[in-house]
């Protein structure tokens, strides 16, 4: 049966009819075609499908879409703003925190939730916050370092700092 879902996704209003059995993950990827959010298990085991619901990280494979009515949802597509990447995105790209890139959206979302909630987390705290997100490529160290670098770039505050010189295509020429 189709049900009506009204919510906000990446600060845009969404008003759609969706199958009542579908998870938030499925509605995001299939109905809204926001395929940036990934899946690795659909059982809440890998963390790839993390999105923010009202600012908190949630595994979208474990949430029915209808449960998200009236909520504010943020996916990886919503991290960049005003044509600029989020400092976490800049640092992940610059510092080797993303290899195959498949776990990356879920990790960025989880890291953003951490930095939004805690101004200055320790390395241990970062590792703890990311421990539900599996990555098979990196060995996690470059990911943790990228989160720390983003912290230095001001990811935790609302202001965006100037970006790394080498970040933009063709910069430095």
């Amino acid at each position: 049966m189709k049900v009506r879902l009204t919510c906000s996704v990446n600060q845009e209003p969404v008003d759609v009819l969706v199958d009542d059995y579908k998870t938030l993950l499925e509605v995001l990827r299939e109905d809204l075609q926001l395929t940036g959010t990934k899946h690795g298990c659909e059982l809440g085991e890998c963390g790839a499908c993390a999105v923010l619901v009202d600012g908190s990280p949630v595994l979208s494979c474990l949430v029915l879409a209808v449960e998200s009515a009236g909520r504010r949802i943020t996916t990886v597509e919503g991290l960049a703003a005003d044509g600029r990447l989020h400092p976490l995105q800049e640092c992940f790209a610059d510092l080797g925190a993303s290899q195959c890139g498949y776990c990356t959206p879920g990790i960025l979302i989880t890291a953003k939730a951490l930095l939004d909630a805690e101004p200055n987390p320790s390395r241990e705290r970062i590792c703890e916050a990311l421990s539900g997100n599996l990555c098979r490529c990196t060995g996690y160290l470059q990911i943790v370092e990228a989160v720390e670098a983003a912290l230095r770039l001001g990811a935790a505050s609302k202001q965006r700092q100037p970006l790394l010189a080498q970040s933009e295509p063709g910069a430095g020429q």
Partner: protein, 824 residues
């Protein structure tokens, strides 16, 4: 020479932005109009005849477009020409729980899944084989009707020199048996494919494959279609590690369905199915007999390996040879006997996982060396330093080694870890262990034996100043697109972001054999240099004439082309391209790479050769709770001989990712099986086909890793580069086991080195029994007579004295492409 601007600099990878914005388009992200969805029915029996399949009810279900069974797939395929033993859907029997039997294509996944559950299959159960010992003991029923005999898929035996005499002359002979449990790749991306009949009526498949070229061949064969009418597009892989290197059932099924239905058909496997696809690490039992002189030189090695292959051939014949190939590349072993046997069992097929066949025997060899060092009262680092294979030499088994940075690697990790103050000196419960390894920088022989290049690159320069580079290489996260673009940008003196890479597309790109055997950087890289240097030469001539300077004085750098002696005499790169295009017409070049011929001319000599080898040494520190056996790893020091780090950011990621994956294998990862009780059919099932139960390390489990790169450029590699994707994984498992011995004095000769095994060994030790956990003996295998090959240093010519003339045999088989590299 102008200093390098790009190569050697830590850089953001060219596809970095796409990955952090979620815009990298993986196979399951492809959504097409009118797309249908596929689900597979998989066998619930580990070994059974298919008596009947009734698809009537499934076909009647609303929303179902097509139901397929094995009848639609009469032609067998497989990755190796010597084992074309798979059908897209099983025809007469099933061989493991999870073997695909039927497929439903429907309007959505839910409908397809419902229809799958309406298919009735009647199975006639057969005896099942859970362990290699059972497969060796019972010839009937055969899991396959091919192979050496009974349920033995392949048994090989090679001897290089008089091993028995060398053993007899040795001061000590060490004899140890080890076991390495199987484990799986666990890529976070589940395999997915979308097949389409294009407007011209040809087949296009977008799929998460590491080997689009081999899938192209398999589709052409199994679907009986002209290869020219098939386009395989390898989407970026969300992790591969070897697990997406075979042509898979689901790829053939959606390809066939799309052609029949003339609609796009998608499949995305669920996590449980990914465990059934497997093709991961073979469980291997191995016996190392090593003759050693009292001053610590190896006189001979006699190695036996027994591989549990699972239910299909996959890469297994190559995997078997690989368990015996690289020992001699690491250490000087003048005489060598290798016997390897792969048996079929009723479990998901094993195949290539990072390190392909070599990590298992690397574990055995490095743990045995630790025991040898202790017996000889030698430091394990010093012992190894004294036995490193000589550089630029031919090993006893005819592998041509190039530069060897292993001594520097060992010296580096010893110094960095403060080894001399720690080894056998730390308090009870804390220990350090050392191990070394080497790995191929690309397999020297193609899977389908031919004289064609292994990698091809095309370049297009246009008036925008932009360059497009085309190559069949497959981006699996390792950064092959970045390597390709970085090399082209370096040679042409432009910015990497001025270069667009088109890769992994059999319609658009020249063949590259695939992302396996750590071959891409070296092979694609050399082809890219050739193509880019040719383009530079085409541009340089007309520009030199225009500027009135000799062409050989021109420098291409910083998006300009200028005279090295008067740099203000210059044009922009874009102007240079236009000047050249006006003179010579459209500018396009090609480059290709073919590895050197193998030196060995005996059957099996095709597995192991490589243009050059990487080397690694690692020290692992462990904490072991002597009460409970609980083990943690606080620190790892690793040094890797890479020749030249093209993009150090990516290189570090490969080293750390290898350490991570090695620790997973060493400590916890197991692809293990159990029998259901008789009331539940006694089926042989995967113990835990889920990510929650298949334990892998998390961010909380990661140690501090100190990485050093040894950079002595190897002339065979692009800018001197060797591989880094696999080698650094290899020393981790044995280094962990050696560290456990240093910490608590027990030997765990078995992977994974899990707490319960350490505890069992501790309890045995406390009871006055041997402080060891591991296999007691090596099973009896009926080995074939060894091929006798005289080592090069004893005057051999690379041929076996007791093998029929292979040149004559080859002539007889000429034109038959199915002559496999691995056979020869």
């Amino acid at each position: 020479m102008t200093p390098r601007r790009i190569i050697g600099q830590p850089r953001r990878r060219v596809d970095g932005r796409a990955k952090v914005t979620g815009q990298t388009r993986f196979a399951d992200d492809i959504i097409l109009p009118r797309m249908l969805h596929c689900r597979l029915l998989r066998s619930t029996h580990p070994h059974a005849r298919i008596v009947s399949i009734d698809t009537g009810k499934a076909e009647q279900l609303d929303g179902v477009h097509l139901v397929l069974t094995g009848e639609s797939f009469p032609i067998a395929y497989g990755i190796l020409p010597v084992s074309h033993d798979e059908h897209a859907l099983c025809r007469d029997k099933v061989r493991f729980v999870g073997d695909p039997v039927a497929a439903v294509i429907a309007r959505d996944e839910v409908t397809a899944e419902s229809a799958v559950n309406l298919i009735d299959v009647v199975y006639g159960p057969l005896r099942t084989f859970a362990e290699p010992a059972e497969s060796l003991a019972h010839d009937e029923p055969r899991i396959h009707d091919y192979g050496d005999h009974g349920n033995v898929h392949k048994a090989v035996s090679l001897q290089f020199g008089d091993v028995d005499a060398a053993m007899a002359a040795a001061d000590h002979v060490f004899d140890d048996v080890f076991f390495f449990e199987g484990n799986t790749h666990l890529p976070i991306e589940q395999h997915a494919s979308v097949a389409v009949k294009d407007p011209d009526g040809k087949l296009v498949i977008y799929t998460s494959t590491q080997t689009p070229h081999y899938l192209h061949r398999a589709l052409a064969k199994a679907l009986a279609m002209p290869a020219a009418h098939i386009r395989v597009v390898a989407t970026p892989n969300g992790g591969g590690f070897g697990g997406k290197s075979d042509p898979f059932n689901h790829e053939l099924v959606v390809a066939k369905a799309a052609m029949l239905l003339d609609r796009p058909v998608k499949i995305c496997l669920n996590r449980e199915e990914v465990f059934y696809c497997h093709r991961g690490r073979h469980p291997v039992t191995m016996r190392f007999r090593t003759g050693v002189t009292r001053d610590g030189k190896i006189t001979a090695l006699d190695l036996q390996t027994l591989l549990d292959g699972g239910s299909y051939g996959s890469y297994g014949v190559a995997s078997t040879f690989y368990t015996g190939a690289l020992q001699t590349v690491t250490y000087d072993i003048p005489r060598y006997r290798f016997r390897g046997c792969r048996v079929f069992t009723n479990k998901p097929p094993c195949g290539p996982k990072r390190g392909h066949g070599t990590p298992q025997s690397r574990f055995g060899q490095e743990v045995q060396l630790d025991k040898i060092a202790e017996h000889l009262k030698r430091d394990p680092a010093g012992l190894r330093l004294g036995m490193i294979a000589p550089p630029d030499s031919l090993t006893a088994n005819y592998l041509r080694v190039g530069t060897i940075g292993l001594a520097e690697c060992i010296t580096k990790v010893v110094e960095r870890s403060n080894w001399k103050d720690k080894f056998r000196k730390l308090p009870l419960g804390r220990g350090v262990g050392l191990a070394c390894s080497s790995y191929l920088s690309g397999a020297g022989m193609p899977i389908n034996w031919n004289d064609l290049p292994h990698s091809g690159v095309q370049l297009k320069l246009d008036r925008s100043g932009g360059v497009t580079v085309f190559c069949g290489a497959t981006e699996i996260g390792q950064g092959s697109d970045d390597v390709l673009v970085g090399i082209v940008a370096e040679v042409l003196g432009i910015d990497p972001f001025d270069v667009r890479a088109v890769t992994g597309d059999t319609d658009l790109t020249p063949v590259d054999l695939g992302s396996y055997s750590s071959r891409v950087t070296l092979m694609m890289g050399n082809a890219a240099i050739q193509a880019a240097e040719r383009a530079r030469a085409i541009v340089a001539g007309p520009v030199a004439a225009k500027l009135g300077v000799p062409a050989d004085r021109l420098v291409f750098a910083d998006r300009r082309v200028f005279d090295s002696e008067q740099p203000d005499r210059s044009v922009t790169f874009q102007e240079a391209v236009c000047i050249a295009e006006a003179r010579v017409g459209t500018i396009g070049t090609t480059g290709s790479y073919t590895p050197p011929k193998a030196a060995g001319h005996f059957k099996g000599g095709g597995v192991g050769p490589s243009p050059t080898y990487s080397y690694t040494a690692a020290v692992v520190e462990v904490d072991v709770d002597a009460e409970t056996g609980w083990i943690t790893v606080p620190r790892v020091w690793i040094a890797h001989d890479i020749g030249c780090a093209l993009n150090p950011t990516l290189v570090r990621g490969q080293v750390e990712g290898s350490v991570y994956m090695g620790l997973g294998e060493a400590l916890m990862e197991e692809q293990a099986f159990r029998r259901l009780p008789p009331r539940l059919s006694s089926a042989l099932v995967h113990k835990f086909p889920s990510m929650l139960e298949y334990k892998s390390p998390t961010s909380l489990d990661m140690p501090e890793i100190v990485t050093d790169l040894i950079e002595h450029p190897d002339p065979r590699g692009p800018f001197g580069a060797k591989e880094v994707g696999q080698g650094p994984l290899l020393p981790i498992m044995p280094a962990v086991a050696n560290a456990v011995y240093d910490a608590v004095g027990v030997r765990v000769d078995q992977i994974p080195v899990s707490p319960e095994k350490i505890l069992r060994a501790l309890q045995a030790k406390a009871a006055g029994k041997p402080a060891r956990v591991g296999p007691a003996s090596f099973p009896d295998v009926a080995w074939p007579e060894p091929l006798l090959v005289t080592p090069p240093h004893e005057g051999g010519d690379g041929r076996a004295s007791n093998e029929p003339d292979r040149r004559l045999r080859r002539k007889a088989e000429a034109g038959v492409e199915a002559t496999a590299g691995v056979r020869s």
